[in-house]
């Protein structure tokens, strides 16, 4: 099924007589496998409203992410949360859509400073499991009118409703950037360096520690800043001083090279084409290195640190449960075979009362249990 309008989407859901497997471009198959008729949103594609002077954008959910980025770039603006493209990591084909991105609350390296997809999502229109067209939020930046279902919909992966339209706050793309590079730090030292940079007043918009082999290079720690040219120069200088104790600091100012390197970080290129399951962890940044050591002990073959140590990517042996006991944060099984995803919890198991709330919400939003049933739990 491929609806071309919101009303058609509503009719299809209202008329569905069994489970639906909801996809945007189908490039991010994360979660328990869903057995159901495919409902694809790709034809619900259009920029509805874009006001660069107000920093607001409204688009239909099936609009390709690339199209959104092109429209924004033409006005010197961007999605501030730097959404990851999962195709390389997951080995998928197809066209990522903006709705799929919202449904999975996809962000990237800049999330550590700028916030996540959900922080820039101003409004949604969606169809619930009964086929009702619903709206929440709007197209203005400040809105506390009623409960915030916008945040709830972000990351609910089509299990509470099917997104038809989303609106965003966007931001200007800064004219300049710089990346500071430290080579050869071990994970603990790299963690300290990233923390030092992030707790400085110099507005670091990326702090990552990469394994050897990413974008063809050696083990290294990267700190990114962005802004107007003179400001970037100033802050880069201050950060070089600040990090001097960690070793020699190289500064990269070429925009194309910086974009290439951070795309590699964003999309976890270090793991592309390598066999194994991929796990993703969100923890408090200073716990990153210790978690990394624990994961190695459990068999992880490679690690990548982002968000100053708060985001870990692990390449692990297939079919292994890589959730350490007492994890203070959450782990998601991002890439694994269907058998593994059916056997191991893909999302972090929740405490009983939270699990109960989540299930009760699903029952209310989708009383027939037809929207991506079982995908999240």
């Amino acid at each position: 099924m491929e609806p071309v309008s919101e009303s058609e989407l509503s009719e299809m859901i209202a008329g569905a007589d069994g489970p639906l497997r909801i996809i945007g471009g189908g490039t991010r198959p994360v979660g328990r496998p869903v057995d159901g008729a495919t409902l694809a949103l790709a034809r619900l594609s259009r920029v509805v409203d874009y006001e660069p002077g107000a920093l607001t954008l409204v688009v239909k959910a099936g609009t390709p992410v690339a199209e959104v980025e092109r429209v924004l770039a033409a006005e010197g603006q961007r999605l501030p949360f730097e959404p990851m493209d999962h195709r390389g990591l997951l080995g998928t084909q197809g066209t990522p859509t903006i709705g799929g991105l919202v449904a999975a609350n996809v962000s990237g390296p800049r999330r550590v400073q700028a916030g996540a997809c959900r922080d820039y999502l101003l409004g949604v229109r969606f169809v619930d499991g009964r086929g009702r067209v619903l709206k929440n939020g709007g197209r203005v930046m400040k809105n506390v009118t009623g409960y915030d279902l916008v945040k709830l919909m972000a990351g609910s992966r089509g299990t509470l409703g099917v997104l038809g339209e989303v609106s965003f706050k966007v931001l200007p793309e800064p004219p300049a950037a710089a990346v500071l590079r430290l080579d050869g730090l071990d994970e603990a030292r790299a963690g300290e360096a990233m923390c030092a940079a992030l707790r400085s007043p110099f507005e670091v918009t990326g702090a990552a520690h990469l394994p050897e082999g990413t974008a063809g290079e050696t083990l290294r720690t990267l700190i990114r800043i962005e802004g107007f040219d003179a400001s970037v120069t100033y802050r880069a200088g201050r950060l070089v001083q600040l990090l001097a104790g960690f070793g020699e600091v190289a500064v990269e100012r070429d925009k194309a090279e910086i974009a290439r390197v951070w795309r590699a970080v964003r999309d976890v290129e270090a793991f592309h084409g390598r066999a194994g399951d991929v796990w993703r962890y969100s923890v408090r940044p200073t716990q990153g290195p210790a978690l990394g050591a624990a994961l190695r002990g459990m068999g992880a073959q490679a690690l990548q640190y982002d968000w100053g140590g708060g985001l870990l990517w692990a390449l692990a042996p297939e079919g292994t449960d890589m959730r350490p006991e007492g994890l203070d944060g959450h782990a998601t099984l991002i890439r694994a075979g269907e058998e593994t995803r059916a056997r191991l919890p893909v999302f972090q198991p929740e405490a009983a009362p939270i699990q109960k709330l989540s299930q009760a919400l699903r029952d209310r939003f989708d009383p027939r249990g037809i929207l991506n049933p079982g995908l999240m739990g």
């Binding site: 809105n143 009623g146 409960y147 203070d328």
Partner: protein, 477 residues
């Protein structure tokens, strides 16, 4: 304002309720004498008052849990209260309710600079969160005007904003985790010091739910390193259209000021008379503030001043010292006080798409004449959050009703042009009956379904947010 009829059965059982509460709380933490409960009869929306059955002031999450368990058992409505600074009546009691105040829960539980968070009990005031970290050059970003008094609990309930949210976001963007007590007394942990949710974003759902889903007793908040400096610039224009264009051009030029504040002529005049900040007498005044090192500020202000000059300002004043900065902000910061000195006022809070600003200001001016009530506009221009202040005389019969009708018309206008009823104050009781102007019945139904999940008996913060007629069936169920 319609409120549900108090349950006579509950009123009759007050002695049993008080006795039960006294069993789980220290004696001084249960207030039940009428003369004392009256201190809690309203919040900052003072036109509506109703003393509660009793007031409890617990000191810990465990005590909050014990209180809620009793109220759940006895089916007594509970009104959570932070500092009582809501402008929307978010903490207005009903006669048969217990006020659960978190004012005694002010502890800092954990400060972590490396991971950039602070964990506090939610009775702590907004400004004292920054107070706990500013020696180390950190701060908590959301800065509602009431920040000296307002509690984090209320900030979370209303998803409060402030003047600097164009750059730093509002409460929901700076909240990492909560400890929350459900109406049945169960304590849940949501989020933590890590980023984003592992499952559904319940944290995002709770923030802004006006105390209707649970009582948040502890919060993990993101703290940020203070910028090296900040500097405002003041500009005056002969028309609000031009001022609106300046705002739009600044944003399009790629500068992201931390604040862009806008005042119209009635407001400028009132502030000038009150504070004597030396503002020009013009149609529209903008205060734009940027942050960074001196050189960075110069670079950003260079771009902003170029734009400002292109639009032919009647005044352009760059701050050259902290004293001059304070003077530029003086009038704006005393705006509410200035208007309050002229008369009683009602402060609205709608948000509009920035591009509709001239239209909305013109329509408000026309309505002001129709209603015969003066109105001054002061607002966060970067994000379209308006604060029209309608002046009225509370002692003049009918003036309050007239003012409310005028206010409702302004909010409907905000919705009509693509905006919303409330940008940062919340719905409370004030905007409750306008919700159908913004939402279709199904849109409200799904929100009420969320309430059903968290608080099936509808005991938490009764009669707020949803029109009473819309929630009647669920409340009775």
């Amino acid at each position: 304002m319609d409120m549900p009829i108090p349950d006579p059965g509950l009123l009759a059982r007050k002695p049993q309720l008080v006795a039960a509460l006294q069993r789980v709380l220290p004696r001084e933490a249960v207030i039940h004498e009428e003369i004392e409960t009256r201190a809690y009869e309203c919040d900052a929306l003072t036109v509506y008052r109703c003393a509660p059955l009793a007031v409890v002031l617990p000191s810990s999450t465990q005590e909050v849990s014990a209180v809620l368990r009793i109220c759940h058992e006895m089916e007594v409505p509970v009104v959570p209260r932070g500092a009582g600074t809501s402008l929307a009546g978010g903490a207005l009691p009903t006669a048969d309710s217990v006020i659960l105040g978190v004012a005694r829960m002010t502890e800092v539980l954990e400060v972590d600079h490396d991971n950039r968070f602070i964990r506090v009990q939610t009775g702590r005031t907004n400004l004292s969160v920054t107070g706990a970290v500013e020696e180390d050059d950190f701060f908590y970003a959301p800065d509602p005007s009431s920040q000296l008094a307002c509690a984090i609990a209320g900030n979370i309930a209303m998803n409060s904003g402030g003047a600097h949210c164009l750059k730093y976001g509002v409460t929901t963007n700076n909240l990492l985790g909560v400890t929350m007590v459900m109406m049945d007394g169960e304590v849940v942990e949501i989020g933590g010091a890590h980023l984003d949710a592992g499952g559904y974003d319940l944290l995002g759902l709770i923030c802004g739910s006006e105390g209707q889903l649970g009582v948040v007793t502890e919060a993990t908040l993101r703290i940020l390193r203070k910028p090296e400096g900040a500097r405002p610039v003041l500009m005056g224009y002969d028309s609000s259209e031009v001022a609106g264009e300046v705002v739009s051009d600044i944003i399009r030029a790629g500068v992201l000021p931390v604040a862009i504040e806008f005042m119209d002529r009635p407001c400028i005049r009132a502030c000038e008379a009150f504070a004597g900040a030396g503002y020009p007498d013009c149609e529209a005044l903008l205060i734009v503030e940027v942050e960074g090192s001196d050189a960075e500020i110069d670079e950003q202000l260079g771009v902003i001043l170029d734009i400002a000059r292109r639009h032919d300002p009647v005044e352009l004043r760059e701050s050259r010292s902290p004293e001059e900065s304070a003077r530029i902000w003086l009038g704006r910061k005393s705006a509410f006080g200035a208007m309050g000195q002229i008369n009683d006022y009602m402060c609205l809070d709608g948000t509009i798409p920035v591009s509709r600003l001239p239209l909305v200001l013109r329509r408000i001016g026309e309505m002001s004449k129709e209603y015969g009530l003066d109105v001054g506009n002061v607002f966060h221009a970067g994000d379209g959050n308006m604060h029209p202040l309608i002046l009225f005389d509370a002692n003049k019969p009918g003036d309050l009703e007239l003012c409310e009708a005028f206010g409702a018309d302004i909010l409907r206008l905000c919705v009509e042009v693509g905006g919303c009823l409330t940008g940062e104050h919340g719905v409370g009781i004030e905007k409750r009956d306008l919700m159908f102007d913004q939402f279709a019945p199904d849109d409200l139904d799904i929100q009420m379904a969320v309430k059903d999940v968290f608080d099936p008996k509808w005991l938490l913060n009764p009669a707020k947010v949803f029109p009473l007629a819309a929630s009647a069936g669920r409340r009775a169920a």
